[in-house]
Symmetry: C2
Subunit: 376 residues, 2 copies
């Protein structure tokens, strides 16, 4: 029974329907910035030396059905997940014990842990940190039941992407479901394809609000004289998914009126500094195109430095340490990044020994903790 | 004196400034749909067989200065220009006399005139027509004066383009002038480069409002039983400037809630018909991807059929006649299109013989007519 909705979904398309849908999706994506820079295997550097081409982000023609009960459960549990990972991030001793086992076998984890230890030795200049998390799920259909279960795939604590583009995908499918207004015919008739079937997606607004909250929490410039403040997006070279990121910076600029700059992780040491004379350790950004004006960075948003290939030399580790020891609020800190590693997810899911969930979420209704545990 | 502002404008850019501006403009254009499909000379059909690539529309890095007095004068005269060309459109006899001289030497004009004569013989089914005009100017700096004068280059009565993209260009330059908020540094310092220096551009809102007004003026469906109504954009094959057009259809759909369809001019006869049994001659559109639902076209917006190369065979002229004889409101009618031909501009500008301006604008303050004449 529960599977019947999938067996005839999505509905089949005749050539005219397919042609219309594909064309409409391509045009809509381009008109609305649901875009990526094309892969080098598709458009070579030689054929587009100035990098002026873009293409639609890959999307499904139809919205993907997902059991509403699972969706509501994921939403209901998100705040608790946020609390859990915030609590883990604040427990350096607990994280340290887990990392100890990995330090000899995993260079990446080991180096991250060393960054933390080095900054800890000097003393952190910033007690606040910002987490923008993305919890990924699948709906599990047990063979013994017709009721689908929510199962977590992974929990991301750094560079959680696609908030910007997925909001646009939701808009695209919503518009198609209601197109044209009054007489929707863009999709063929199907019980699942009704106007207003797509849940609201506020990822751009809420993720940007998180960054804006950190910006405000930083408070006034710690420099003398005071400098204008900003948020710094630290990004990878040749980022293809830039428009996902720009959706957040546009919101921060337009709605929150906060200056946002983008800086390659490889150029951090060239264009930022921490004045040695200032014990508050503010992170100062000098835009290379207007070096006479200095900005104080309230919040560093990492869209790089999340994978081993983002560290090509000791200089990159030096840059990461430089950010970590600064007064800027990091999204995320090294400890917050480590809390999202697979090994932590594994320890939390282990049923033997100490009940970590109960410890980290001591003030929480045990029934709610059970629901969270059921997603493991 | 008046020229000094141009001699150091735009300000020169060092490599870091140029790199930042070019990159920012390219990314902004892609994020906001300030796009065109790439030219076949840039991206061949073979290297992008599915047509998924797009590139930024060509734009200037800096806003182009234009004398404010000339700009204000052009705005002040636009309504009078609209009235003038509406009056010409309504004077078939006057247009006919001008066209007589061209019929033997200009096949295109001759064929358009024949479409009008054929429909006139049968009798027009629609008395209303819609004009969306674009009046192009340059600022003329006479050698004898320091005061620049407004001079019209041409007046467009069909397929007046770039309302959609030029609004975005205004937004782009406005944002750059104020970027980042509070400490603008995207542009180098220059007296002309100040926040809020760009006049508001409401082309998308006003052009769409024109189409929506025509849609409403058409009134109820003339079919039995009544059909849902729509606006039809008649477009060229391989249109590169599609995002300019989609800016208008998005506004019509989102704000005015009017169904909008796009149809190639070469496919008009395949997907529209006029029921021979209905003396009101409604134009019926059958979307090829949902042929069971028929829409009645209130307004035909021509973004094709404006140039001889849009007519490849008698079938295209047949399609144009088919639209013209229907009850749909045309933007523009054949007569309205002809009123925008160069020869009409030339006759209006001729100072000898009858004063056409005074005749067409009989109820207008002569001083205002003089100002309009001064732009010739």
């Amino acid at each position: 029974m529960a599977e019947s909705v999938y067996t005839d979904y999505p509905p089949s398309l005749n050539p005219a329907q397919k042609d219309f849908l594909v064309r409409t999706v391509k045009d809509w994506a381009t008109q609305n910035g649901l875009m990526v820079r094309p892969a080098p295997t598709f458009v070579s550097k030689e054929s587009d030396p100035r990098g002026v081409l873009a293409t639609n982000a890959p999307v499904t023609l139809f919205p993907s059905p997902f059991p509403r009960t699972c969706f509501e459960e994921a939403k209901a549990l998100q705040t608790l997940y946020n609390k859990l990972y915030a609590a883990i991030t604040c427990n350096e001793e607990w994280i340290g014990k887990i990392m100890e086992d990995l330090i000899d076998v995993d260079d990446f984890i080991s180096n991250l842990w060393k960054v933390h230890l080095a900054v800890k030795e000097e003393g952190y200049a910033q007690t606040l940190s910002l987490g923008l998390f993305r919890s990924d799920y699948m709906a599990h259909a047990p063979s013994t039941s017709t009721i689908p279960e929510l199962k977590q795939v992974e929990f991301n604590t750094i560079s959680s992407s696609f908030g910007g583009l997925s909001s646009l995908v939701a808009s695209l499918h919503s518009e198609l479901l209601d197109s044209p207004p009054g007489s929707p015919i863009a999709y063929p008739s199907h019980p699942l394809l009704k106007p207003k079937a797509i849940p609201e997606n506020t990822a751009v607004e809420t993720l940007s609000a998180g960054l804006a909250t950190a910006h405000t929490a930083y408070g006034q410039s710690k420099s003398q004289p005071q400098l204008p403040t900003c948020i710094l997006f630290v990004v990878q070279e040749n980022e293809r998914n830039i428009f996902d990121q720009l959706a957040l910076s546009r919101q921060l600029t337009k709605v929150h009126k906060i200056p946002v700059f983008r800086l390659l992780s490889s150029e951090i040491l060239d264009h930022t500094y921490i004045p040695s004379s200032n014990p508050s350790r503010p992170l100062i950004y000098r835009p290379p195109y207007a070096e006479e004006i200095h900005f104080e960075v309230t919040t560093v948003y990492l869209r790089s430095f999340y994978t081993p290939t983002d560290y090509n030399s000791n200089r990159d580790w030096e840059a990461r340490t430089h950010l970590e020891r600064s007064a800027a609020i990091k999204c995320p800190t090294v400890l917050n990044q480590l809390s999202g590693s697979k090994i932590v997810q594994q320890v939390l899911a282990t049923q033997t020994g100490q009940d970590h969930l109960a410890t980290f979420l001591a003030d929480t209704d045990p029934a709610l903790i059970s629901r969270l545990r059921a997603t493991f």
